[in-house]
Amino acid sequence: MKIAVCVKQVPEGTSLKLDPGTKRLDRSGEGALNHFDANAVEEALRLKESAGDAEVVVVSVGPAGAADALRKALAMGADRALLVSDDAVAGSDLVATSRVLAAALEREGADLVLFGQQASDSDGAVLWAAVADRLRRPLVSQAAELSVADGSLRAKRQTEFGYDVIQAALPAIVAVSDAINEPRYPSLKGIMGAKKKPQETLTLGDLGVDVGQVGEAGSKTEVYEFSLPPSRGDSRKIEDDGKAAEQIVEFLAEKRLV
């Protein structure tokens, strides 16, 4: 069985910066593996461990620096990495990105493609749907449990009211929820062995994707402007010395909110 896991490099830290010139996210600083994707990598490794014979390949579309995020997935235990990196891809929206990713996945021909539920920088949470549509594959999102047997998968899908249990024939695409597992820490040997694992970088040309179909030209959305959210104004911080709850209730009553 071949399992592909799509991962994204996101800016490290909690404060995201937007570049006013390009109106894009500033990715010049340190990057990290999107933590939602770590759940997908972990699930792939668990499926591999229970199947015995499987290959886990991590796939990313991003700048050259995204190789770092892929290396983190390799350190956790993935077998090899594929990065699609091409200057023309910069500025792609979800539609354009899904085109590139779908082409890379088509080339891989994996039995199962896993995604994290969303990226922690853009919070789109729809890329997996766009990719599934392009590849015409069954899709399960918000999977909180996943198993594979006899050419099909079985997933418990988290919903507002409980769980849907869904069975789908492979090849298929699954976006796992962040409740599905707790990602392992990479081991020392894993970290030290990561750079020796196969890591391939492809351009759009390698995938046969036309430059005009990606980047801003291939995107359906356009950013006109952005601005910071208004400041919170007069805020007050309450240190809890055992009376914080009372103080909050008082405050809400004062504002006639309760």
Binding site: D68, R71, K72, A75, Y185, P186, S187, L188, K189, G190, I191, M192, A194, K195
Partner: protein, 395 residues
């Protein structure tokens, strides 16, 4: 990658941008241990310290990360660099000196002793199991009446047919009561110092835990009691019969302390910095007062200087040029500096600084042990003194 250098933004947590001196693998190892400590140690260690316990599963988690004997090669060991090992010690000790001690004793004392001085059979039997955390080791050199002067040890090993009979008491032994094997140094009848692997369960061997410590409470400290313990010849280290054996191991462990102390200091500094920015006195944060700023600046200076020393010694260790006297200078300076940082942090936190809600007094108390174990501050001072003058002032 050669680019035009431009000043980067100043990071208060890494003032001199020491990070830039580390390679990607070193950073990846450091970041993993840092995350582990943040998620698994920091939220719980106050409680461990208060109860005077270390949970057994912590040992398994540390083994899962592959940290036991990480800087040793062969026998399935990772063979990481000395710098990577040092960074690991720093991150572990940013959690607690007790957790770093657990890893130091397992890797630098017990495993290193076997790796350096053991027979091929001893290495095959113990090193992979110790790396996996299936066997925990301790190191018995210090005695109730022999600390800085290990040559005066009273533990004896007497030959009896194919075996050895060990008698004596070892004290202040980290991991003693949880250990599956103890590396015990004893004097043989010819007056020489020999090392033995004493296994848990050997008749006459016990390791009662020492209680009532006010330092390193999240660490197991024990006595090793040996009463006519019969140890087979194949458990004796064949490669060494002098104090050079145990001293070589201590030198390894001290190297880790040079780094570890800076971890404890950094944790206290970060706690004090955060607190100073939030604590309001006379209408403004105490961070805005000159006295506090002086404290913070001195703390940052000490930590950056100490970390650079540790990194320098690590690079030297990796290219095989590190001298024991240089490790002595590192341990001497860094532990003293780190204690000073923790005490200063304590004054910034005021009353909060004496509680387990904050890491400060825990680190401060722990470092009191670190100051005197693995060679006291005084002994390291005399090592440096002798190296400078050629005069031995120990006796």
């Amino acid at each position: 990658m050669a680019t035009t250098a431009k000043p980067t933004e100043l990071d208060p947590r890494d003032f001199l941008a020491i990070d830039a001196l580390l390679d990607d693998e070193e950073k990846a190892i450091r970041d993993t241990v840092r995350r582990f400590v943040r998620e698994r140690v920091v939220p719980n260690v106050g409680e461990w310290f208060e109860r005077g316990e270390v949970p057994r599963e912590l040992t398994q988690e540390l083994a899962g990360l592959g940290l036991f004997g990480m800087h040793l090669e062969g026998y399935g060991l990772p063979g990481a660099s000395s710098v990577a090992y040092g960074l690991t010690c720093m991150e572990l000790e940013a959690g607690d000196s007790g957790v770093r001690s657990l890893v130091s004793v397992q890797g630098s004392l017990a495993m290193f002793a076997i790796w350096r001085w053991g027979s091929e059979e001893q290495k095959q039997r113990w090193l992979p199991a110790m790396h996996e955390g299936e066997a925990i080791g301790c190191f018995g050199l210090t005695e109730p009446d022999a600390g800085s002067d290990p040559g005066s040890m009273r533990t004896t090993a007497r030959r009896d047919g194919a075996d050895w009979i060990l008698n004596g008491t070892k004290m202040w032994i980290t991991n003693g009561s949880i250990a599956d094997l103890a590396v015990v140094w004893a004097r043989t009848e010819d007056g020489k110092i020999n090392g033995f692997i004493v296994e848990k369960g050997m008749p006459g061997f016990s390791a009662p835990e020492m209680k009532h410590k006010l330092s390193l409470r999240a660490s197991v400290t024990s006595e090793l009691v040996l009463k006519d313990v019969r140890v087979p010849e194949e458990n004796r280290f064949p490669e060494i019969s002098s104090l050079r054996g145990p001293l070589s191991c201590l030198n390894e462990a001290r190297y880790g302390i040079v780094w570890g102390a800076e971890g404890a200091a950094r944790a206290c500094f970060e706690s004090a910095l955060e607190y100073a920015k939030e604590r309001i006195v006379f209408g403004k944060p105490i961070a805005g007062y000159q006295l506090t700023q002086q404290k913070l600046a001195e703390m940052a200076l000490e930590i950056n200087r100490g970390t650079l020393v540790a990194l320098h010694l690590g690079r030297k260790k990796d290219d095989g040029t590190l001298l024991p006297e240089q490790v002595s200078m590192g341990k001497m300076g860094n532990v003293r500096g780190a204690i000073e940082v923790c005490r200063t942090a304590r004054t910034i936190l005021g009353g909060n600084g004496i509680t387990l809600e904050y890491p400060v007094i825990r680190h401060m108390n722990n470092l009191e042990s670190v100051l005197t174990y693995e060679g006291t501050h005084e002994v390291h001072t005399l090592v440096v003194g002798e190296a400078l003058t050629g005069e031995n002032a120990f006796r």
